[in-house]
């Protein structure tokens, strides 16, 4: 019995789109591969896993963007968290990937081995349960991720208030996608000729919020889903625009993404969070690119409750690690002097090697 998604992995159809991509590439002046950026780590992973990156290497240079939540977490935020994890009577609750990211003095995984109480969860419901079961401890959830995971954290805070859970708080590292893309493309340093936009983020925000990419910054973009054919289709559309069609932000994932997004999820985010300046690995501080907890929910804000402030960190290995340039699409992972030698998935030096969706890890 064919499954619902088989048509999105159909090799025959893929072959036809690949033919179309090659045909379009011949219409673009110059024989070099066209630099496109897949913003989302899941797309980077898919390009490696399906072999598409390798298959199209002569026509498209896929560069990973700032769309892996672990990768863009700033070193000083991470160091603050690592320091905080050893405080007495704290249970730090995280989504898995954060565990292994190296800070200046070790990772959360190492702190765990030293006795820090760090719990991995799969759902915010698990966080509520942990808080209920450990009334005598302070349960601190680290909210990481973009518009996709922020609604869950917002609901967690609302639920904590409704259930009068006094021992639960949130350290928000949540970030927003549009501001960093504006920074990336507006810097004047980028030679990216098209963006593959994250379908999951757009499912929440709606396609429309990305219009500025084409209208103000002149860069073509396609919102893509996460099956191989989605990415191939997006690539073909971007090459069409690179070949002369006027730039636009096209919805290549209409089976999930609407113009205006998921209003319930957006309402949850807007109810609890407010845009604040956030620090991004590779980009520095960007105004309005993070989600801080609103005043009216301040009792659930771990950074206020415990006075967690970003540390002034500068790691010795930073001089060689090229995560920053990789996240901006200026370098490919193989251009980093540490790639595969000083930095491997077993012994990551930079954040991009940690998550399976990090650029370096997906190239490895």
């Amino acid at each position: 019995m064919p499954g619902a998604f088989d048509r999105f992995t159909d090799p025959g159809l893929a072959g036809r789109i690949i033919g179309r991509i090659r045909e379009l590439h011949r219409k673009i002046p110059g024989s070099n591969p066209v630099p496109l950026m897949e913003v989302c780590g899941t797309h980077s992973h898919l390009l490696g896993k399906s072999g598409i990156r390798d298959l199209l290497a002569d026509v498209v240079e896929y560069r990973s963007g700032p769309g892996c939540p672990v990768c863009v977490t700033a070193l000083n935020d991470l160091d603050a968290l690592i320091d905080f994890s050893l405080r007495e009577n704290i249970i730090l609750v995280i989504f898995g990937d954060l565990l292994k990211v190296p800070g200046t003095r070790g990772s959360l995984q190492e702190q765990k081995a030293r006795g820090a109480r760090i719990k991995l969860v799969y759902s915010i419901l698990d966080v509520l349960e942990l808080a209920r079961q450990n009334r005598n401890a302070e349960v601190v959830f680290v909210g990481a991720g973009f518009e996709t995971t922020a609604p869950g954290t917002a609901l967690l805070i609302k639920e904590a208030r409704a259930a009068a859970l006094k021992n639960l708080s949130v350290f928000s590292l949540h970030k927003l996608m549009p501001p960093v893309l504006r920074q990336l493309l507006g810097s004047g340093r980028s030679d990216i000729r098209g963006l593959i936009l994250p379908g999951h983020v757009a499912a929440v925000t709606g396609r429309r919020v990305f219009d500025f990419i084409a209208s103000e910054l002149g860069c073509p973009a396609v919102v893509a889903g996460f099956e191989p054919l989605d990415v191939l289709h997006a690539t073909a559309l971007l090459l069409e625009m690179a070949a002369g069609r006027s730039p636009a932000v096209i919805n290549g994932y209409p089976r999930v993404v609407s113009e205006t997004g998921n209003t319930a999820a957006l309402a949850a985010i807007n109810g609890v969070f407010t845009p604040v300046e956030a620090n991004w690995r590779g980009f520095g501080c960007i105004e309005g690119s993070g989600l801080g907890i609103k005043e009216e929910y301040s009792e659930f804000d771990a950074s206020r409750r415990f006075g967690i402030t970003p540390l002034d960190s500068a790691a010795p290995w930073q001089s060689k690690c090229r995560c920053s340039e990789i996240l901006r699409g200026e370098l490919a992972p193989r251009d980093c002097p540490l790639f595969g030698t000083g930095c491997t998935p077993d012994h990551p030096q930079g954040a991009c090697m940690v998550s399976g969706e990090g650029a370096c890890s997906s190239y490895f």
Binding site: G3, I18, G41, G51, D54, L55, P69, T149, D346
Partner: protein
Amino acid sequence: MAQSPLIELAHGDGGGLTRELIAAVFARHFANPILGRQEDAAICPLPGGRVAVTTDSFIVDPIFFPGGDIGKLAVCGTVNDLAVMGARPLYLTAGFIIEEGFSVELLEKIAASMACAAAAAGVHIVAADTKVAEKGAVDQLFINTTGIGLIEGSLCLGADQVRPGDRVIVSGPVGNHGLVILASRMGLDLNGGLVSDCACLWPVISAVISDFPVKFMRDATRGGLATVLKELAVSSGLDVVVREESIPVCREVIELSQMLGVEPYYLANEGRFIAVVPEAAAPGLVERLHQFELGRGAAVIGTLHEGSGRVLLHTRFGGTRVLDFLRGQHIPRIC
């Protein structure tokens, strides 16, 4: 209603309670003449041949999962390590480290499951040990098993036997066990749809090695299919070239692993093995495997080539991807 008894520290002190526990649980389920003597060491007859010895410790969470439990796993895991070396499993020892407060009823259920798996494999549990650790010092129950097996005739399996042109065969769909465990840990209800592949491989393997010129076998446990293929490539110095569309994976496994952000090729199996045979023997071996329940999904998945110890996966889109060892734990992604 009387509460079911719990394991106490005294059950591990070697005194009266220990003797009671042994009699009520272990001796009852594992009964055989060698164990029954209850001496300090089991005296086991060994017919002629080379002896294979292996040991493994089991600390699975959860201890009961769809398709098995820690006891079945502790028997099958060790038996399978003997079997893939071509050794007929004869004897097992079992060491139990039990957390204070563990239910005697569950312990008995696990012992019964071990006895059942041992019977299916044709092995006797000839020695056992029980220790009780303070509450919190271990997580419910850890089991160590050591297996002793016998290699008959001149059978010699190993990565040094394989040659370019040989075919790689997998005995059935991969990824089920690892995914079932991961899903159970996450509290996902599988609705009885997906169960662990945990099973004893000796009956299948004994038929295979007597009829086919097998050169290399390994069960694809931790690290999954990809890790075993990489071990084969590194040990032989050859490239293992695999076609993605020929690798058997159940639809439920594909869909659920996509949802969780893990890959079936890296998920553990507890009842699947990889075999390498000369090209001419491959179709016959697959056909033979198909006659067994455990070999129903068997398929030729790849070929060995001159190379440098790489595993190359040809994807269904015509791309090539390099598979490496499993790195670290399976950690579901953030988004």
